[in-house]
């Protein structure tokens, strides 16, 4: 695939993140009572909701793609790495996919424990 496709996806992800991240920051970090927002009770009760899971799954995908493509841009522009762009890309793909799998697992596992909490 041509570089342009990856780059457009990267910008689209940036655009989507602007909305998702705005929502996430305003409602978790700023509004309401922060201590209460991040108490286990509150976290667990949010974790059971499928809408919550979908939101954070989307967030995870877009943030990881955008972040890791951006990281690749930076790394490819370093003289020592510029000539190894396949290796750099491969390592970042493995790391990114690994984080995605771990995050997804955590989201679904949390749905179960949420019911307990």
């Amino acid at each position: 695939m041509k570089e342009s496709r990856f780059w457009f996806l990267f910008l689209i992800a940036g655009l989507v993140l602007f909305l998702l991240l705005g929502y996430h920051i305003v409602f978790i970090h700023l509004l309401g009572n922060y201590e209460a927002n991040i108490s286990f009770q509150s976290v667990a009760s949010r974790s059971v909701s499928p809408a919550y899971a979908v939101f954070y799954l989307l967030f995870l995908v877009f943030a990881l793609y955008h972040g890791f493509y951006g990281l690749r841009t930076i790394l490819l522009e370093i003289e020592a790495l510029a000539r190894h762009h396949r290796t750099v890309t491969a390592i970042l793909v493995v790391l990114g996919v690994g984080l995605f799998v771990y995050g997804t697992w955590a989201l679904f596992a949390a749905m179960k424990i949420g019911a307990v909490g």
Binding site: V43, S47, I113
Partner: protein, 144 residues
Amino acid sequence: MAKPVQYNNRLGMKGWWGGRYGLERWAYFLHRLTGLVIVLYLILHIFVTSARVFGPEAWEATMGAVGGPVFRFLEYLLIAAITYHGFNGLRLIFIEWFGWSLGRPRRPIYPYVTSLHHQRPLLIGMMILAFLFLVFSAWGFLTP
């Protein structure tokens, strides 16, 4: 006669620094810096927030480790970084993807008016929005 040897004058990563150039070049440097900080944070964030899976004790312990006024302040700095990156990123999407706010090609007649001049109000507007959002979030931070 000595063999000619060329001197390597490439700036390398030092060249990312804004130096004596204008606003946009500093915006680029900050965008890169904040982008890097946010990715590192994202990775950390994924691990920290997964602690819930291991039960209330693990969650409280993790939250305890990253709690307190110091971490709260760092969190604010992070929000500042994300805010800057987000609003400046919006400007970059307008410019790099849609070619907006750059004016039209023109014959270069001195004094030159370039695309930099055309998009500067957008840059300043975005920075004002980012600033307002940061004031709002400071208020959100101070009122628990």
